[in-house]
Symmetry: C2
DNA sequence: ATATAGATCTCGTCA
DNA sequence: TGACGAGGTCTATAT
């Protein structure tokens, strides 16, 4: 693609807040929170209507380089073609050796994704079904920013002991256990009590994490994160009937 | 764009492992680690040569939907146009109402980014310049997976006390301090000693984190992550001379 | 395969 | 604005 044609497309796309994508051969320098150099190669570059910038290599899901929305973008054509961009304290210089193909379009989309099965849904489920933790667990609050910290589910047991439940939607690690421990200790310190119970609610827990959990007198309860829309793909494109 | 033309482009691009991008109006359902629904709107969809899939809305840096590399992709044209994809246990159904434009290209890129200023560089710097921690700090190892955990810099002081240094390239939080505490306690437990010193090396630390750090008798040392390529953008496109 | 921790993490939320 | 924690986190590395 000719330098002149690319410039025109670039200017027009950015002026009219279109999404602009192009295939190119380039070399990239990044400077900001870190420093990086990416030698010459073919990439896909995306500039969105909010002036965010993404550089994708032909493989891997994540961009190899990026700038946050609101970037200042300047296409220089003095000594070859160079895309110079800045977003806050982050700088990106893209030296363009060739542009193979480009495409621009105005995309209309005000929708937000509806997502279920996150940690919040999990703590909801436990608050509504306290027997998942133990027969005598009585929840008092959920997802609350207390002075003790952000506690997923807080309550007490039949004997009147305070209970802190930390939910994780994945296999609980050492870091998850120390997080629970931090909340328990904070409550004991601020309330001046001892024997606060800690419960890790997660589908699984690593061996080391379980050892540390038990060392601290806490316990693990196996709980699956809820997926309320599950029916959809179970019937239509689930594991059984996909291909 | 005609349904037939799109199908042809799609099939050809995937068969020849090209990167394939297109603008479309669509509705998306996701099922896997969670469940999600994204109502109808205009998006940019990217299929890379490793069969990873990205769905981008016209704003925000991150993809609203994605599948990891190695996805199985099938374009169905029975009841409208539907892109059905699966990668492991993750399913994505994209109902395509319109395809505005599409572009495919074979990208050649075997390069890896060279990045500096990460936590590893920071621990390197401390190992080579132990006076950054204290005048009498003597480092013994760096970035080592020990039975105590993954410790950034490990050493001792002039009095023979063991010292654990945890590096963070950003403002240290409560979680960072508990991580340091975990390493210190593990060492004390396994070596049967007391008084192991904990040092948090980071450019800054939050007030709560500092309080917890001092409560544990640890200390904070202000250290900036190194940026060896910094000259590049300082001279050419730094804050002063960019625009 | 699982476990662990970093990341130019990003993003939301609340003080 | 900073702090704190979740994330369909992802990615790299070691066991």
């Amino acid at each position: 693609m000719e330098k002149h044609d690319f410039r025109e497309l670039f200017d027009r796309a950015l002026a009219s807040h279109q999404v602009f994508v192009f295939f190119c051969n380039c070399e990239i320098r990044y400077s900001g929170r870190a420093e990086a150099y990416l030698p010459r190669g073919d990439r896909l570059i995306i500039i969105k209507e909010d002036q965010s910038l993404l550089v994708h290599q032909p493989v891997n899901g994540n961009p190899v380089n990026y700038l946050k929305p609101g970037a200042e973008l300047r296409l220089e054509a003095e000594d070859g073609l160079v895309l110079r961009a800045r977003s806050g304290k982050d700088f990106l210089d893209v030296r363009l050796f060739r542009v193979y193909d480009a495409m621009a379009g105005k995309l209309e989309d005000g929708q937000k994704q509806v997502l279920q099965g996150n940690e919040r849904d999990m703590s909801d489920m436990i608050k509504d079904n306290p027997e998942l933790i133990s027969p005598d667990f009585i929840p008092l609050s959920r997802e609350e920013h207390t002075k003790f910290g952000f506690i997923d589910v807080f309550g007490h047991d039949g004997a009147g002991n305070l209970v802190v439940v930390e939910c994780k939607r994945y296999t609980a690690s050492l870091a998850c256990v120390t997080q629970l421990r931090r909340y328990v200790e904070k409550i004991e310190e601020l309330k001046g009590v001892r024997g606060v119970k800690g419960v890790m609610a997660s589908p699984a827990i690593s061996a080391n994490a379980l050892a540390m959990l038990e060392q601290w007198g806490f316990r693990h309860v196996a709980v699956q994160p809820p997926k309320r829309l599950e029916r959809h793909n179970k019937g239509q494109s689930g594991l059984q009937g996909f291909f």
